[in-house]
Symmetry: C2
Subunit: 111 residues, 2 copies
DNA sequence: CAAAATACATAGTATAACAATGTATTATTA
DNA sequence: TAATAATACATTGTTATACTATGTATTTTG
């Protein structure tokens, strides 16, 4: 029943949304990429493709909303941890305002 | 304070969202384009550019989620009214399920 | 009578998600 | 112990959609 349409739509809905998710999650904890994706998959209904995540993080770093640092492991591949910057925190606050407005608007018309 | 970033982000967030808005609004009433844009602007925090709306409606018609009919006016330019099809109604139901999941997920991580 | 509002529409641009693919290390399991 | 899965980061190319700018035409308003 129009599965292709719905699938494509879900992918479109994620645009922008994933940025909002990332900044929100980093507000409370530092995460490295692989962990982040797994955590979000477990705790929410949101599935982030790796091919989406890494370019997204590089965009956010370029915009200086997040910074990153490599952390060597006793064994295994080093992990790149992401941290929310002050600019990131301020930007997130503005985004939260719009998100709130938008959710409220949609709740209004979808009830 | 990063206004350009936030502005671009808002535009990204609308991707997919506008489809959801359109189908939801048409669930209860028929509308013509100009009226639709004005109504949504008045009642919600959502601003839809005309250059977004008309191509969007043509996509939805192609997918057979909506149909349209021209209605002549006693005076003035004829109006093209949009109507939700049965396929549109069924597709919307599936979208509502995902939207609910997504909002819940984001509420969880943004609190 | 000029400007604003109404009403539909398209072309070109920018952006972001995703699949596919790649590299490398470590843990599991058969 | 050899193959496979899981961990961990990353890029390239494709596709889809929102927006600006622009265009046409009619009607209302100042």
């Amino acid at each position: 029943m129009n599965e292709i349409f719905v699938t494509k739509w879900k992918s479109q809905v994620k645009k922008g949304t994933l940025t909002f998710v990332v900044l929100n999650v980093l507000r409370e904890n530092e995460f490295y990429g692989y962990e982040f994706i797994e955590e979000v998959k477990k705790k929410t209904a949101i599935d982030i493709a790796e091919g989406t995540f890494y370019p997204l993080m590089n965009r956010l770093k370029k915009e200086e909303l997040v910074s990153s640092k490599w952390v060597e492991q006793e064994s295994g591949i080093p992990r790149k941890y992401y941290v929310l910057t002050d600019t990131g925190k301020k930007t997130l606050k503005q985004m939260q305002i719009y998100w709130e407005e938008l959710s409220t608007s949609i709740k209004k018309i979808s009830k």
